[in-house]
């Protein structure tokens, strides 16, 4: 369970570093954010939801059945889009309306 940060997309704004509940993210010498302790990630997606640049990819470790897909999110007003990207690049999008409660 962890994240990877795309260095080309990361602007170094630091919003993800602020919220990580494990303080696992750090600024590298080039001013970009990297995950310093990838094995310590809880998988809460707090950082993913802070990132406005789709730079943070959330994936399942191979030890928990991960097969190379990852997800990121996009905020659009009250909508939160979850974009799941398969290894072949194909995408699925699930959209949550924050004003709606869970059905279960």
């Amino acid at each position: 369970m962890s994240i990877k940060i795309d260095r080309h997309k990361c602007t170094g704004c630091g919003k993800c570093r602020e919220v990580c509940p494990g303080s696992l993210l750090a600024e590298d010498p080039a001013g970009k954010t990297q995950i310093k302790y990838p094995k310590e990630c809880w998988g809460c997606t707090s950082c993913v939801k802070e990132c406005n640049f789709n730079a943070i990819q959330y994936y399942l470790g191979a030890d928990m059945g991960g097969k190379g897909s990852f997800l990121y999110t996009k905020q659009e007003g009250q909508l939160l889009h979850w974009i799941i990207v398969a290894p072949d690049g194909s995408k699925q999008i699930l959209t949550i309306d924050k004003r709606q409660a869970n059905a279960y």
Binding site: V19, C41, W42, G43, L60, A101, Y104
Partner: protein
């Protein structure tokens, strides 16, 4: 690196800005002009148990139910050993705190008549993805409340038998804060990471409880000599395999039954369904060679499947990702389930500070609420809100007429020396990660972890006790290179203190009251004649001393006397 001390003063210090801590701060602001500092290890926007969100509010008095019913349920589920006064005073507040968090912005599902839609007898449906940002936002608007993020509190300041503040260090600058306060409310949460986890390798932190809740509140209380209760009632969650995502959403949401590999519904073969029995039955089926066990979801509708995908994104996104990346959702494949490693918590089970009815601990000036407070299981999120309120009201009353006691300068110097010693230590043979792994292995094998089917006996506990004490000695020789490593060292030390107390509690209860949670092979039967009692403890002169106490009833006002 060398930390320099810096003094801060406040009326009330809240340690931990999670579920209970945020509500305590809001309540203090509503009832007084007291100055408050919330010291938070991470950032209150996403810290504590609610970082990813929460699937439902699991403690609510739905139409037709009463606080008395809630108490009866919690008491039965805990096989009779609960602090009735604590559970009942929480139950009476559940609906009021729910209204409050709805007013702050939490989305709760309502029917056409404007009534909350219930999920079972005690649960209501919400969109809890942003529950923590909502709480953090409310706290940030309080003029007398200062939130200090990224401050790791490591010990109370104890003077003349009274808590007069706490020590903590910043994760960003080389400062050791000496915080003086008239009262301290501990809301740090419970302890994860004591036992070898389900995914011991790369995904070691993909666990039920927050891996960043490392038992600091317990350990600080233990070291200060506070009385603790019911550590032996561990919590073990029944979860979706690998992702360790919740099962209640599927079980209660769509009514899925637990089945074994032969397709048999097995839970009913193990007595009245209770939280511990749902776990125990699954462990036993696996031991009999009938696993894997599943939640039977095969054949649910496409609409139900889509709703489950969304529900999990709002609290445990790994599960939705797992379904989608494997190309098999719950409609086409049953969901495999497993038990987690044991955790020590006071919000699901009842481990924590021994508190009076007002949530005062046994040390003057110190209050506790939420997962770190013992005696009342089944609190969940709303119960932690309620308990945060109760503790806050008591702390506000306590500080009237109290003046701030400046800490003894020699004590402060000693503490700074002890903290800075970790930077001066020579690089030894072991790293903090190795000590943590060793601790988790000891607890797994000798104190009833996953690999031993959650079962322990006194001989094994004696081995565990010895090895945990050895590891504690080793951990004081660890070297920190930066502030993050210093935090990791304090976390492992805190966990070792919690393990030490836990081991004593496990051995002290000479019966088996809660299957899997407390499975004592030397005494495999429940013994109501001798053990309708609380197992408590106090740490003094390097040893955990056990104290047995009689049950407290619903309308009792419990006060600390001895």
């Amino acid at each position: 690196m060398n930390l320099k001390t810096k003094n801060l003063e406040t009326d009330i210090l809240i340690v931990g800005g999670g579920t209970a801590g945020c509500f305590a701060a809001i309540t203090i602001a509503e009832n007084s002009d007291a100055k408050v500092i919330i010291a938070e290890k991470a950032n209150i926007k996403r810290s504590g148990c609610l970082a990813a969100g929460v699937n439902a509010l699991n403690a609510y008095i739905v139409k037709g139910q009463t606080p008395e019913n809630y108490l009866t349920y919690a008491k039965n589920d805990a096989e009779g050993v609960v602090r009735e006064d604590l559970v009942y005073t929480i139950a009476q507040k559940l609906n009021q705190v729910t209204k409050k968090v709805e007013d702050l912005g939490l989305v709760i599902l309502k029917d056409e008549a404007g009534q909350y839609v219930s999920r079972g007898n005690r649960n209501i449906k919400i969109n809890g993805e942003n529950i923590k940002p909502i709480l953090a936002d409310a706290v940030s608007k309080l003029p007398n409340v200062t939130v200090i993020n990224r401050m790791n509190i490591i010990d109370y300041i104890l003077q003349d038998g009274k808590i007069i503040g706490a020590y903590g260090f910043s994760l960003d600058t080389a400062v050791l804060y000496v915080i003086s306060a008239k009262a301290v409310i501990c809301t740090t949460g419970g302890a994860a990471g004591l036992y070898k986890p389900n995914n011991p390798g790369f995904s070691k932190h993909k666990m039920w409880y927050s891996p960043f809740n490392t038992g600091a509140g317990y350990a600080m209380g233990i070291r200060a000599g506070a009385e603790m209760t019911t550590f032996e009632m561990r919590f073990i969650a029944l979860r979706c395999k690998d992702t360790i995502a919740p099962t209640g959403t599927i079980a209660q949401g769509i009514g899925a039954q637990q089945t074994n590999s032969k397709g048999e519904e097995y839970e009913k073969n193990y007595g009245i369904p209770k939280t511990s029995i749902r776990m125990y039955s699954t462990v036993m089926e696996n031991q009999k060679g009938k696993g894997p066990c599943y939640l039977q979801t095969l054949g649910i509708s496409q609409e139900q499947e889509q709703d489950l995908y969304k529900a999990y994104l709002n609290m445990s996104p790994a599960q939705t990702l797992s379904w989608l990346e494997n190309g098999k959702g719950p409609a086409s494949e049953n969901v495999e389930i497993e038990g987690t490693e044991p955790y020590i918590v006071g919000g699901h089970t009842a481990s924590g500070y021994w508190i009076d009815t007002n949530r005062a601990t046994t040390i003057q000036g110190l209050y506790a609420a939420g997962d770190v407070a013992g005696g009342s299981p089944q609190k969940y999120v709303t119960g932690c809100f309620a308990e945060g309120e109760i503790a806050a009201v008591a702390a506000v009353a306590y500080i009237q007429g109290i003046v701030i006691t400046p800490p003894d300068l020699q004590d402060v110097e000693r503490k700074a020396g002890a903290v800075n010693a970790f930077f001066r230590n020579e690089q030894g043979l072991y790293t903090v990660e190795e000590i943590e792994e060793a601790m988790q292995k000891v607890m797994d094998q000798y104190a009833g972890g996953i690999s031993s089917g959650y079962v322990f006996n006194l001989s094994k506990l004696q081995v565990a006790k010895r090895q945990i004490k050895d590891l504690l000695q080793l951990s004081y020789k660890l070297k920190a290179h930066d502030l993050h490593e210093l935090m990791l060292i304090y976390e492992v030390i805190d966990r070792l203190y919690v393990c030490d107390t836990l081991i004593q509690h496990l051995g002290a209860r000479k019966e088996t009251r809660w299957h899997t949670f407390q499975e004592n092979a030397d005494y495999p039967e429940r013994d109501d004649v001798n053990w309708l009692k609380y197992v408590n403890s106090r740490f003094s002169e390097g040893e955990v001393k056990i104290i047995l106490r009689d049950l407290v009833k619903k309308d009792d006002i419990y006060e600390h006397k001895d």
